[in-house]
């Protein structure tokens, strides 16, 4: 399964991934117009401070045994068989927030007005997820865990 990994050694916590994510999930998909949209788009990726000089960019981990899928009482969160990714079906979501309650990564956010949740969808309309492209230090990468370990020489 290909998903987004973050090399903490290169993450500066600058937040470019957050902005790129929000812009990608907006109506106009262009920064200067996005910020005057109402409602504003919601980022699904966060640059988080860990401790002294260490930061990480995190989002949905598309867990094998996803807590959100287990918790979802509407079957809106589900595992896509082909890709192994955790997907969200807006048609089924009732905004009960059980997934938010269950996600150990805090990766799910409320879209309050719509009573829906949003989370990383790996940017299905792009070749490369917006955050990966935006990362100025190339800390973020898309690939398998094996590929990630190789990139980090581990």
């Amino acid at each position: 399964m290909k998903k987004i990994y973050c090399n903490i050694k290169k993450c500066l916590g600058c937040g470019s991934c957050e902005i790129a994510c929000a812009v990608e999930h907006s109506k106009s998909k262009e920064l200067n117009n996005t910020i005057s949209e109402s409602p504003l788009p919601i980022k699904r990726r966060r640059a988080e401070f860990v401790e002294e000089n260490i930061a990480i960019s995190t989002g949905c981990q598309h867990c094998d045994n996803a807590a959100c899928v287990t918790a979802c009482m509407a079957a809106a969160m589900y595992k896509e068989l082909k890709t192994g990714l955790t997907q969200h079906d807006r048609d089924k979501c009732v905004g009960c927030w059980m997934c938010i309650m269950s996600c150990p990564f805090g990766a799910i956010t409320r879209e309050k007005q719509e009573k829906q949740v949003v989370k990383c969808d790996l940017c299905p309309d792009r070749d490369k997820p917006a955050c990966v492209e935006a990362c100025p230090t190339r800390a973020l990468s898309l690939g398998t865990f094996k590929e990630f370990k190789k990139i980090c020489n581990m």
Binding site: G15, S16, L31, N32, I35
Partner: protein
């Protein structure tokens, strides 16, 4: 390889660059994409060590910097510092010219002379210098002193503000932005934006406005007038533009930067017998001087020196392989040039005590020894001719003719065939509806927009709608390359009304008035148009508008501000970095219009922007109850 720019000359050379692994601005620009969103929106603050702080423009993360500054304060301070920096550039430019004038008057800078003594006298009177029974040099000395005094002035008002209509002067006084002196406003713009100082955004922006007025009615205007005095007031002149002006069999020397103090002397030095002899000795048929950026405009206007290219083309010029030397001074010079030049024989020479570049030979230029230094530099270039590698030479064929050198004094000698300059014919043309209004299209070129192509698109749209266009700087260069700066362009592209005027007078529909400091010629013209009467009693009533469709530099910000706060609507091709603050954006794009008569607009599409300007001009015409456009197009 960088994406094609759509400009065939540039793309041709970019391919060569790619083949030789030479990185150009287009490659590096792409590597910077996507640009940092926080910076773009103006919500990154690097002013103090509590930071660097950023505001989350989407409202979830931090909404205040560590000190408590919000997006309004942060973007206002950033914009003010940018404006001050731009104003500082033009102040220095004016200062250098004033110092040279003083040194000339004192007999120190002997290689310069007074080329327009009448203008010297007129200008001296404006500065309160008595001119009766005094020699040019004596007046020069006193004028130089008077001007320099204004740089250090602590109280009072700038002299040249008096050129503006009374209404503008009163607005500036009432809104507390009338500059007291040149340097003080730039210094205070810096000090006020220190951490924990000026924080209320409208007040912070007052400092920006002050800095900009110090540029437009101070440093830049002084520079324009002194350049005319020292190097000659331009007259309309034909010349050529684009990289095709480089010659296979002559020593190609590029003048790049901004100050005619350097470039003008080099033009004179190149005509020296000794130099010409050296050229022949080195096997070349002659010296081919050409320019890049504003210094190109200065020598183009006054000497017909061809313009090789715009800001974005400076690396491409070297990649032609045909340039023996590029001589640079200040501003808009890319530090990448040495990396590019190392693939060729081209020598890069920096000259300003204010600007050094790693990889460039530095031969410092001082006005006291101007000619000697100029000759020294020329000799290096000439002797480099034999090192040109013919196999690497790729001079594009394209070049275009243009007419440049319009100033607000000379243009209307032609209109109506008067003996003295008068704006009557222009005002009448506007009143009668032959000309809808006047637009200033200025500024840089930027890969963020269309690497220069926005200018031509916008200008064509404007002249199609009978708007007379005046231009400066790289914008003028871009339109010249597109063939718009020729009288023939009127037949091809202008609306009927405008075409009629251009035919009668023999001017292009697009008038190149010089370099970036010469944007003040447009300000002066506006003052004259008001004085002449019939199209508004103050600058904000005139049917005029401004645009910088591909702005790049901080100087452009300062210029934009001084037009806006002098009462002119200005549209720019990418937003100022304030969108992260709704309040600041709203203030500069809406709220200031009733205060100053001008405002900012952000529109990336050049055609849409042209129509914003046309709509604005129409609004002014309506308010003046002028006759409808004679040959109105849909």
């Amino acid at each position: 390889m960088a994406k094609p720019t759509g400009n065939p000359i540039n793309d041709q050379l970019l391919e060569i660059a790619a083949q030789n692994n030479i990185s150009t601005i287009w490659d590096r620009f792409m590597e910077q994409e996507p640009h940092c969103g926080f910076g773009t929106l103006g919500v990154c603050c690097k002013i103090c060590n509590l930071g660097p702080c950023r505001i989350d423009p989407f409202g979830e993360g931090a909404q205040k910097g560590a000190c408590g500054a919000d997006a309004d304060t942060i973007s206002a301070r950033n914009l003010t510092r940018n404006t001050a920096a731009g104003a500082a550039c033009h102040s220095d430019h004016g200062r250098d010219l004033a110092r040279t004038l003083l040194e000339l008057g004192k007999g120190i800078a002997k290689d310069y002379s007074i080329k327009d003594p009448e203008k010297l006298r007129r200008f001296a009177v404006e500065f309160g210098v008595k001119i009766e029974n005094k020699s040019d040099l004596k007046i020069a000395e006193e004028l130089g002193e008077a001007i320099l005094k204004e740089f250090g002035q602590q109280e009072g008002e700038l002299t040249l503000l008096k050129r503006a209509p009374k209404k503008q002067q009163e607005i500036w006084r009432k809104t507390n932005v009338s500059p007291r002196g040149i340097d003080i406003e730039v210094v205070q713009a810096m000090s006020r934006t220190h951490i924990g100082c000026d924080n209320e955004y409208k007040h912070v922006l007052e400092a920006a406005i002050r800095s900009s007025l110090v540029d437009g009615w101070g440093g830049s205007m002084i520079a324009t007038e002194l350049s005319d005095i020292l190097f000659g007031s331009p007259q309309p002149i034909r010349a050529e533009i684009n990289l095709g002006v480089l010659k296979e069999d002559e020593v190609n020397i590029l003048l790049h930067g901004h100050e005619p103090l350097l470039s003008d002397i080099i033009v004179t030095a190149s005509q020296d017998k000794e130099i010409q002899e050296l050229v022949r000795k080195n096997g070349a048929k002659g010296i081919n001087l050409s320019g890049i950026c504003c210094t190109a405009a200065e020598v183009l206007m006054r000497h017909g020196v061809p313009m090789a290219g715009n800001f974005l083309q400076q690396e491409l010029a070297i990649i032609t392989g045909a340039v023996e030397a590029m001589i640079v001074d200040i501003q808009c010079i890319m530090p990448s040039l040495p990396e590019v030049a190392k693939h060729y024989h081209t020598k890069l020479i920096s000259t300003s005590p204010k600007a050094k570049f790693a990889g460039m030979e530095h031969i410092e230029f001082h006005e006291k020894e101007a000619m000697a230094t100029a000759k020294k530099i020329l000799k290096i270039a000439i002797e480099n001719y034999k090192n040109r590698n013919r196999s690497k030479v790729n001079i594009p064929k394209e070049k275009m003719t243009l007419v440049a050198g319009f100033t607000m004094e000379n243009i209307f000698y032609n209109l109506g065939g008067s003996f003295r300059p008068s704006y009557r014919p222009l005002n009448d043309a506007i009143i009668s509806g032959r000309i809808r209004g006047v637009a200033g299209v200025i500024g840089c070129d930027n890969p963020k927009n269309q690497s220069g192509m926005c200018h031509a698109d916008m200008v064509r749209e404007l002249i199609k709608n009978d708007v007379l266009v005046v231009q400066t700087g790289c914008s003028g260069g871009a339109c010249a390359k597109a063939g718009l700066l020729t009288p023939e362009a009127a037949f091809k592209f202008a609306g009927e009304g405008l075409r009629e005027i251009c035919e009668t007078v023999g001017i292009p529909p697009v008038l190149h008035t010089g370099s970036c400091v010469d944007n003040t010629r447009i300000l002066t013209a506006c003052c004259e148009m008001v004085k002449e009467g019939g199209i508004g009693n103050s600058i904000d009533e005139l049917p005029v508008a401004g645009a910088a469709p591909e702005w790049m530099s901080e100087k452009a910000i300062a210029i934009g501000w001084y037009f806006v706060t002098s009462g002119i609507f200005v549209t720019i091709g990418s937003p100022l970095r304030v969108l992260g603050s709704k309040n600041v954006t709203n203030y500069i794009c809406n709220e200031i219009e009733p205060i100053y008569g001008g405002k900012w607009a952000f529109e990336g599409d050049p055609i849409k922007a042209a129509h914003l300007m046309i709509a604005h001009i129409d609004k002014k015409r309506e308010a003046l109850k002028l006759k409808p456009i004679m040959c109105a197009k849909v």
